[in-house]
Amino acid sequence: MKEMSASWQLALSSLIGKRWRTALMAGAVALASALVVAVSCSIVSVQASIEHALMWFLGASDARIVHPFNGRFDESILDTARTWEGVAVATGRFGLQLTLTHPLTQTSPPDKDPDKDPDKDPDELQAPLQSTPNAVGVEFDLVRRFRVFRDLEGTWPDEANELLLDDFTADELQAEVGDTLSVAIDDKTESFIVAGIYNSQKFFGTRQRGLIEMDLHTLQRIAGMNRKLTSIYLILDDDIDAQAFCDAHYDEVPEQVSLERSDMVRSGFDRQIQGTRLGLLAGSILTFMCASFIIVTGLTTSVSERQRDLAITRCVGGSRGQLFASQIYFGAILSGLGIVIGLPLGIALAGVLAWYYRDSLPAGLQVSGLGLSLSMLGALGAGLLGAIYPAYLASRVPPLQAMAARARPPSWRVVMVMGLIGLGLVALQVGLFQLPDPTQRFHAYAYVGIPALHLGAFLLAVPLLYLVTWFAGPLLSALLRIPAGMMTRSVLATPYRNGFTAGALMVGISILVSTWSNSLSLLNHWLSTVQFADGIAFRIVGITESQRAAIESMPFVTRSCPLRYLPLQVFNRQVFGLENMGPRTVKCFSTDLDIFFEINPVRWIEGDPEIALERLKRGEGILVADRFTNAKNIGVGDVLTLGSGKVRHDYEILGVIDVGWLEITAQLFGMRSTYMELAVSGIFMDGDVVAERYGNSDIHFLQVELSDDIDDAEASRQIMAAAPGILFWTTRDVRDRVNEIAFTTMAIQSVIAFAALALSSLAMGNVILANIRARSYEFGVLRAVGGMRGLLARLIFGEATIIALTAALTGTLLGMHLAWVGAENYRELAGLDVKLVFPTIPALIGVAVLLLLTLLATLPGVWSVVHPRPSSLIAAGRNG
C-alpha cells in the first residue's frame, strides 16, 4: 500500500509537472471517448426515432393481419376478425400512392418571383404544385383509438372528401387547412379539402415521402378496389396474450395472409440494430487503439525524456515496481480525465446533433448505455495498455543512467524483433480470415484480427522508419542542404520514438485509403452494372393498367417490360451475411421472361438459358443473381425454400445471371419487406407463376425503351405527366443517384479520416515538441560549434518529413490491406465481386495534409531551438 502511494505521488508529480503534455494526451483519450459516445448516442437516437415512428404507425395495436407479399386481400377478413373473441377494436387500412395537385391560385411565393430569377421559365413557376405521397385509407372513427396525431392543425376529417396531410406533404404542396387539392387517378380527377395537417413522425433513412390519411372506402373506390385491404390492425382485450391469440386464429385466415403480433414488424429492424451494435463495438476498439498508440508514444517519449529523473529516483531508493506502477497510474489518470471530459462532451455533441435534426428525430436525444460502457472501458483500456510499454521501459532504467550524459544507442536486435512481432500480428489477422466457420471468422476478425493488424502496423512503423530514412534521407538532405548523414543519424538515434510517432500518425491515412478504395471499388462495380433499357417507371403499390397503357402509348416508347417485386423469405439457409444477423429476405423479380431477356443485356454465368427458360415458365425453379454464387457458392442445382407466413415452396436453381442494375434500382426506390428489412439480391421467376402462388400480380416496375429522338429529361417529364402517381428514372438518373450516394458516403468517410488525421497530428505535435526539447543539449552543441539557426530548422523539418513519410507509407500499406479485407467481406457477406482500386488522388491529398500538419506541429519546437542562445540550450539539456 505504501509502495502504491509513492507511485501514485510520482505519477501525480510528473502529471502536474508537465501540464501541457498531460492536457494533450488526456485530450486524445477524451476525444476518442467523446467520439464513441457521440456516435453511439446518435445511432441510438436515430434507432429510437425510427422505432418511435414505427410504433406510431402501428399505434396501440396488438396484432395485425398483413399480406406479406405486398398484395391485397378481401375486406371480409376484417368482418371475420371483428367476430373473434378478445378483439376490442379492429380496423382495416388500404395503401396507395397518389399524386396530389395544388392549383396554387394564390400569388407565387416570394422565392418564385420571376423578377428575382430571370433565368426561370415563367410558365414553370406558375405551374400547379404536385406531390406523390403514400396515401392510407383509414376508418376515421376508429383510427384515433390506434394512433395519436401530434400537433393537429385544423379539424378531424369526417367527410369522404376530406384529407389529413402530414406537414411534409403540406410543405411540398404549400397547402393549408381549407385548401382544395385534386387527385388524378387514371382518367378521373377528384377534389379533396384539407381538413387538417399534423406533425409527421419523420425520421432518417426510412421515409422520404409524405403520408396522407383519407377515408378508407373513398380510397378503395379511387383505386378501383372496393372491399380490398392491405392490412388489418387489432387491439385486443387487456387479458389476452397476443401470441396465444395469433396461434389460436392462425388457421382462420387465408393462406396468403399472415396473422401475427404487431411487434413482428420489428424483426428485420432488430437484426439491423444487432448489426449496428457489432459495428459500434468494432469501431470503438479501433478508436481506442488509436488513442492508445498516441498514449504509448507520448509516454514513451516522456520516459525517454525523463531517463535522468527516473534514474535519480532509483538512486535514492525507488524500486522498479514503483516506477512501473507510477507509469501505469499515469495512464489510469489519463483515462480518468478522458472519461470525465469525453463522456459529457460526447453526450453534448450528440445532443447538438439531435437538436439540429430535431424535426427528423421525434424521439430526441437518447443516451446509449452500450456507448457509455464502451467509452469508459475503452478509455481505461487505452490508458492502461498505452502505459504498459513505457512502464516497462521506466522500470528498466538503471540508476547509473543518472550519471550518463546521453541515451544508449538503439539495439538492432530490438528493431528486428519488433518487425517480426509486427509481421506476426499481420499474419495472425490473415490467419483468422481463413477460419472455416463464417460467423466465427467474422467475430475473430473484427475483435482480434483488426486490432492485431493495427498493432502490427504500429510496430512495423519502426523498421519502416529505417527504410524511409535510408531511401528518402539522402534526397531530403540534399534538398534541404543538410550535411550528408546528419539527418539520417539524427532520425535513427531514436528509432522507437520516431517510429511510434509515425505509427500513431498512420491511422488517418489508413482510414482515408481503405474507405476510398472500397467506395471506389463499389462505385465502379455498381456503375458497371447499371446497363438496362433507357428508363424505368416505378410505383410502390403497383402500376395500374391505365398507367401502363398511358406509358406504352407514348410515341417515343418503343418497347416495355413489366416487372413485379416480391420480398421473399429464405427458409432453408442463410444466403448472405452472418447467421441470425444477415437479412433473410431476398428480392424476387418476376416478369415476362421472353421480353425481359430480349431488351436487357443479361449475362448468363451458369446454366443453359433455353432449358432454364422452359422450366421457369412451368414454375419448376428460379434464376439467381451471381451474388448468391459469390457469397456462399450457391448455384445451379441447389434448392432454396422461399415464401412467407404459411406459403413455402422449394425451388431448384436453374441458372445464375448478372443483373446488378435491377437490384440497385430496387434498392434506390426504397423497396422493403413488410418486416422493415431491405431485401438483398435478386431471384427471378415467371410472372404468372408468382401471381398464382403468392396472390400478387401488381406491376411495380415498367422498363421502357425510348426512341433516339427524345431527350431523357423530356421523356421523364412527359411520362410522369401522362401517368400521375408514378416515378420515372432514366439510366442516367440511376447512375447519377448511385454517384450521389457514393460521393456523399465518401465525403462523410473523408471527414472522419481527416478528423483522425488532425486528431493524431494534434496529439503527435506534442510528442514531436517534447522530442525536440529533449534534444536541447544536442542542438545547443550544434549551435555552439557554428551550426546556423537555419540548419537547425531545416534539420527539424527534415526529421519531421521523414516521420510523416513513414506514417504515409505505413498508413497506405495498412489502408490497402484493409481495403483488400473489405473487398473480401463484400464478397463473403454480400456476394459482391469488387475489384480493388488504389485511390491515388485521395491518398496524395491525405499525404499532403499529413505532411502539412506534421510540419506545422514542429513550428513551436523549431522556435524553441532557434530562438534561445546556445548556452541556454546546453544548460536546458543538461538539467533535463
Binding site: 509513492a6 529523473d309 535514492v316 531508493g317 525507488g318 524500486s319 522498479r320 543518472a402 543538461r878
Partner: protein, 236 residues
Amino acid sequence: MTKSYTLGRRSIEALRGIDLEITKPGFHAIMGPSGSGKSTLLHLLAALDRPDQGEIEINGRRIDRMNESQLTMFRRHHIGIVFQQYNLLSTMSALENVTLPALLDGMPRSQRIDLGMNLLTTLGLADRAEHRPDALSGGEQQRVAIGRAILFEPSILYADEPTGNLDSQTSEQVLNLLATLARERNMIIVMVTHEPAAAAHCQRASILRDGRIVHTIDVHEGNVGELATRALQLDR
C-alpha cells in the same frame, strides 16, 4: 575489487584491484585524473553497480551479494548520494525533492513535511521549500540534494564532484556543510573530486591511477601542499 566494462568493441578495465577500508566516520576524498576509475569506484560503493570480482561490505553487510530489491532498500535507508549535476526532479519542489526517499518509503505526508521542513530549515532553505529546481541557485540546488541524501540519516554519504558546477564561494559553503555533517552527525562521507582545495576539507584522501589506489594520505593543514602536488602530478 575489479570492474571492467565495454565501450563499443573495447574492453576497459576501470578498476584493477582496489582495496579500500574506511572504518571511522569522517570526510574522505577520492582523487585521481580522468579515467582513473574514481567514478566507477563510487558507483560500486554506492550500490549502483556490481563489481566483477571482490567484496563490498558496508555496516557489516555484503552488498555485492544483494539482489536488486535488497540493493534498492539498502540505498534508500543506508546510503546518501550527492551528484555534480544536483539531479533534482524538475517537476518537484525543494520540499518534495528533499522528502523523495520518504515518499518512496511510504511515510505519511504530514510526517514527511515535518521532517523535510526541519531539514530545509537546518540547511537554511526553509523559505525556498515550495520553489522548483529551476528557481533555485546552484548552491541552493546542491543543498537541497544534500538534504535529500541525509533525510534518513544514512551512515554513509557519497558525493560525486559536488562542487564541480559551483563558484568558489558557494563551493566553500557546500564543502563546509559536508564537513560539518561528517563531524556532527558522525557520518562517513566519501567525496570524489579532482580539486585539491576541495580535498583539503577532508581528513583522508585516496589517490587513484589506472584503476588502482596509488596513495592514501591523511590530510591536515600541513600537507595540503603535498596533496596538491601529487594531484597535479597525476593530472599531468
